[in-house]
Symmetry: C2
Subunit: 358 residues, 2 copies
DNA sequence: CTCGTTTGAGAAAACCTTTTCCCAAGCTTC
DNA sequence: GAAGCTTGGGAAAAGGTTTTCTCAAACGAG
């Protein structure tokens, strides 16, 4: 004896406002107003309609609403970051910021294929997204799409923007300062920098900050070692830093967590202790890597979720008609301290004496 | 002197079919038919309308179309996989399969929060998605959402389905067989298995396959070592396997790539060579890990993109009204051979002689 | 020359909701 | 008792497209 109160059978046709109105014995106009708290009517009528809607499982058709409001409550997110290492936190931030406003996000991976990019942008335009956010895996490359004359707002997050657009990126120089200054405060005297290839803009930005901090502090600058973003390069770099005749570093600031991991592995294989002999700091705070190193890796976090949130909110206000200052906004990084950078060398070990054991 | 052919100024209101029709001097009905290749009219009329639409930059309003067709060409993807390690390949497969049909994907991270799950499901329902796909980070846990009486088709991909639903998962037992049989073919005689915690169903499934293959081959079974999914556990497990008095393994099949990495690191630290002394195979084929190990890691790939593609296509046919057999479909894994498992021991080293160096 | 058929194109309904305008009934006020 | 106001609610347009009917003109056959 099934209760027939709930008409929700599998694949039932959604119930419309018209049906609710009919059931409650009013017009669709009145029903609409009742459910939206608009118009004037007796409390009794309003309640009866509400109840009917509830009972029937009415749910307003978003497509019809969107059509009328000329607003789909939908945004598109384009990315070329296959692993989602950067995009996913950004996505998550965007989604967080928008879900409360009833806005959903289309995620589209465009690889580096302009055809695919066009395909997805067209699909978004057809679906009348309210705006588009572009994100990527590096700040200095443009996605293979043209978002400049779409008729809807576009925002760039962690990827190279069009000129005149609004963009949010991480403050890489600031992040690098955070790391190097932390080493300084901890009493490290010879700080090296191992980073990625010269073709990345952030490599130069961070290297410059590295130099600046050390120069300001009157400490020796070791020419940054440029290579690839891999563990293998991190291991190689340790050879270059520790094999020569010159004085050995007591700290290494790495361009990403994978390099840091390589550095740490190589140091251990040489019998050097991290953090006692050499402190290590990474970049990206990719937890899956940072928490697997021995000891866990101190790393610069780019606050990508916050960046995504900002981007989402800004897009929303753009959609709402409020103009936004075009240009690139750099959002601060933060240092996530774990154990690879060591604790303050207080008294115990005040002079610059790297390589205690070995 | 700007060319005034293109009316596409920034934030221009989209041009409608009505405007195209007016400009071409026909009715909207005719215009619609002309652009869709429907109806009958002179080739001249059709061409003129097409050209007008082109010139005006007309793009049919998908919302209006969806409203009429009762089909939004949109699907929702729910996941709780924060790192996207499993979800992203699935997502990519789904997207690949659907983009050609003009279908876009809403991605929603529901964490493990029922409130968030409900929120996102409601948003999808409001937006009239044609169907929903649930995916996750493990096969034996259900997402914190109820997809059973939504009135639209739901499919499960790489996550625990509702009873009676359609689901696609990886064939973990098959994947394990692939790995162990590969070791057998390569001539390894003592194959160990280091895997994750007992609370995961796949741990038992794979362990069983491991036992079965060895038993069938008349080879010794070492009781599988259950621990966590971490590198640290992989390193510990090497201690357990190689410290005792019993005969040492010459191969280790690991439950994921991180464990495999830990195993390889520990073996190297003991002076054992991979693959010469001990072969190692991982699971997941997480390239970022598998390609960073020394040497690169042979690993079982669950073909998640293909799984996503299947799920997408099946959902599409469900949406189209074709019924699908409910139940769980296991999709085959494949072995990605790199260097950690070694090459066939041909002649050179036919007897079982592990631990050559040490 | 007339009847029937084909051709080209338009009118209108449908999809579902929101909002503006309008109207009738009841009430107050003088 | 009439004029004006308030109250409760409905009719209709709007949003943009597709599709089914309908219709007039042109054409062919007898």
């Amino acid at each position: 004896m099934p209760s027939d109160a709930q008409p929700t059978s599998v694949f039932a046709k959604p119930v419309t406002l018209r049906e609710v109105a009919a059931d409650a014995g009013v017009s669709v106009a009145t029903a609409s107003k009742a459910l939206n708290g608009q118009g004037r009517m007796t409390a009794e009528t309003r309640e009866r309609i509400r109840e009917t809607a509830q009972r029937l499982g009415f749910r307003p058709n978003g497509l019809a609403q969107s059509l009328l409001r000329r607003r789909s409550f939908t945004v598109g997110l384009l990315t070329n970051d296959t692993y989602g290492r950067f995009s996913l936190p950004v996505m998550s931030g965007i989604s967080d910021a928008l879900v409360d406003n009833g806005v959903s996000v289309f995620l589209c991976n465009v690889e580096d294929d302009p055809r695919l990019g066009q395909l997805h942008v067209d699909a978004m335009l057809d679906k009348r997204v309210d705006g588009i956010i572009a994100t990527g895996k590096r700040i200095d490359r443009h996605l293979p799409v043209d978002l400049s004359n779409l008729g809807i707002p576009a925002i760039y997050a962690f990827t190279q923007p069009d000129p005149g657009a609004v963009a949010f990126v991480s403050d890489d120089a600031g992040g690098a300062r955070l790391a190097v200054e932390h080493f300084c405060r901890l009493g490290r005297r010879r700080i090296a920098h191992v980073t990625g290839p010269s073709s990345f803009a952030v490599v130069h930005e961070r290297a410059r900050a590295y130099r600046d901090v050390l120069t300001e502090a009157g400490m020796p600058v070791i020419e940054p070692l440029l290579g690839s973003w891999s563990e293998a390069w991190g291991r190689d770099a340790v050879g270059k830093l520790f094999d020569g005749e010159s004085e050995k570093p007591d700290a290494v600031f790495c361009g990403n967590d994978q390099i840091a991991r390589g550095v740490m592995d190589a140091l251990r294989e040489r019998g050097l202790s991290v953090p006692d002999d050499v402190g290590v700091i990474g970049f990206d705070n990719w937890e899956i890597v940072a928490e697997a190193t021995r000891p866990p890796l101190t790393s610069v976090d780019m606050n990508l979720a916050a960046l995504g949130r900002e981007a989402g909110l800004t897009l929303l206000s753009l959609v709402g008609g409020k103009p936004a200052e075009p240009g690139i906004r750099k959002l601060p990084c933060r240092l996530v301290v774990r154990q690879s950078c060591g604790r303050p060398l207080d008294g115990l070990k005040q002079s610059a004496a790297p390589m205690a054991s070995a």
